[in-house]
Point group: C2
Chain length 348, copies 2
């Protein structure tokens, strides 16, 4: 008799509203620092993970992707779409949700919104890259592209790297206004800039997060000075790049998972054997990060499944004994596992 | 100001309980006949679909898989685990859930349990294969393996093919008792058998659905007479088969999606170029089904993403204006799509 779902059948669901309240409850700075630490820890045990490039379904207007991974104890995947045209129609360019499961039973243990969580983990990921690759004396970040991702990049970089001087630029001044307003009261010194040249003036770190599905050259080579670290976040699908090829050509390039980045990242502009370093190897110490104070380092970030896995595990741990989830009846659990049909019959 | 989720942010969720009530409300016979028709219609437009073998993550004790597909208008995927050891621990061998999305926006439009729904569609799929491949005068089915899938196979074959004489066999007599009891009152003539030989005596259709993760030879060659149609349902992952190689060797074999079946189906026992016919081509008339009344036909069913897609679309259409779902707040929908962080700030 299983009209009421048993405990086994129940899966915690974190809605968008729950996620926002969880973030506010933990505090955005702590959340970002925690999340960066989780990602760093998972990157340090990179070789343990089941890795596969994301599984995409492309249409004329966008892409829907599944991003699975597993560390042998937990399995996680994210569903994420990318529809650049959505913004003009009042919709999110990127929406996402994800699931964490127990590898031993195959049963899901968490179902969560990930539109907000992806924004958070993308910020935390750039912050981890910046921590390892930027000059130690870096103080100022230029934030190019002031859309939905921009505040998260700024908040993470402050929480993880202590960088609080931010120079904002967007082709749409309204976006810059929105970003500046949202960051007010979070301990930043903000400069609103009207040209990309102005924004990167004196910046030690340049983070680029724009959304058009196009080959863009928001930064050209002569704009980028010696010693800068660049996080290129918005070039994240085939045919979409943000940096001029010459910048990419002279930078020391760091990536998440090369088979995916070569298709989706800035390095899609380069030959298939263009040298890159895997960031996880910098974190473990197996490879060198920045070679000198003068070189340009580039984190060609496209987002990888392990980052989502880190985020899902973090949320799974944090919601315990909080009101920030509801249990949903997702898994059929008849008293006798062979009696699935009997359960339906008796449900009347 | 988006503390309350907007309509765009809400996704209908069909729980296990909702699914059971939906099935009872529509009626199991109508549900099976409808579902078979949906699958048949989608197989008839097979070439339209984005097809990819399922994406699996294997461990010592089981597998977790994602099965995506799209017809260009909708995108669907199913999460499904297969853990044969689960039954002994009081858990389902297979649990599943799935999502249907709008390809144009990338937004999910349905989140549904699929443990029950997979059982239903697996029955409906076998019934479609049997309709096209069994002899037209087929009257009796042997059901080998009387576990969680068995009732669904029997109910679908009756609803679609009018076959109501069922001969049950399982190595565990308690499973046979359970199946017979559950099918009582559904218009079947049931014979409980104590050996596989007895069960297939006089059967025109033999459906095999066992669950051990092993190479089984539940049926040997001399047991299978001329003119029989076999649905082999339980051999559905690498290293797991149910039929003796000699049966497979002399049968006229029909499959869903060859790249997947060659890895997971009964034909994993055969050379990689062993001839098979794709069932969808029999449905469209491009290929011949059964060649003679004497030949043995084999549907080597492993389950394919398009069947889940058909089932999700059917449920999506059927829940409209019913109480068999709840809306969940899965997609972040700020008033300004660029103002995701502002939404979090204001959520307090």
């Amino acid at each position: 008799m299983t009209l009421k779902a048993s405990n086994l059948a129940l899966v915690p669901f974190v809605s968008v509203d729950d996620m926002m309240r969880l973030v506010r409850n933990i505090g955005i700075d702590v959340f970002m620092a925690d999340l960066a630490r989780e990602i760093e820890a998972d990157f340090a045990r990179w070789e343990l993970f089941d890795k596969t490039p994301r599984v995409g379904s492309h249409s004329d207007v966008g892409v829907i992707e599944l991003m699975p991974t597993s560390d042998g104890t937990f399995y996680g995947f994210k569903y994420v779409n990318g529809h650049p045209k959505n913004m003009k129609e009042g919709l999110q360019t990127v929406t996402a949700f994800g699931v964490l499961s127990n590898v031993y039973t195959g049963y899901p243990v968490l179902f969560s919104e990930m539109t907000v969580l992806t924004a958070l983990r993308t910020g935390a990921m750039s912050a981890v890259a910046t921590k390892y690759l930027a000059r130690k004396d870096a103080k100022t970040m230029a934030m190019i592209g002031n859309g939905a991702q921009s505040e998260f990049q700024c908040l993470a970089i402050k929480a993880v790297c202590g960088i609080s001087d931010i120079r904002l630029y967007d082709i749409d001044p309204a976006a810059t206004e929105k970003c500046a307003k949202n960051l007010a009261g979070h301990g930043f010194s903000i400069t609103k800039c009207t040209t990309p040249e102005d924004a990167i003036e004196g910046a030690d770190v340049i983070t680029v997060a724009t959304a058009d599905k196009d080959v863009q050259t928001i930064l050209t080579d002569n704009m980028v000075g010696a010693g800068v670290h660049i996080n290129a976040i918005g070039g994240d699908c085939p045919g979409k790049t943000e940096l001029h090829r010459d910048i990419v050509a002279r930078a020391n390039i760091f990536v998440e998972y090369p088979p995916q980045t070569r298709i989706e990242g800035e390095i899609q502009q380069m030959p298939a054997d263009h040298p890159v370093t895997e960031l996880w190897q910098v974190i473990t110490g197996a490879q060198k990060g920045r070679a000198s104070a003068d070189e340009v380092t580039l984190f060609d970030g496209v987002g990888f499944a392990i980052e989502d896995f880190s985020a899902l595990r973090y949320v799974h741990a944090k919601i315990k004994d909080t009101p920030f989830y509801v249990d949903i009846d997702l898994v059929a659990d008849p008293d006798d596992p062979r009696d699935l049909f009997g359960m339906i019959k008796r449900a009347g």
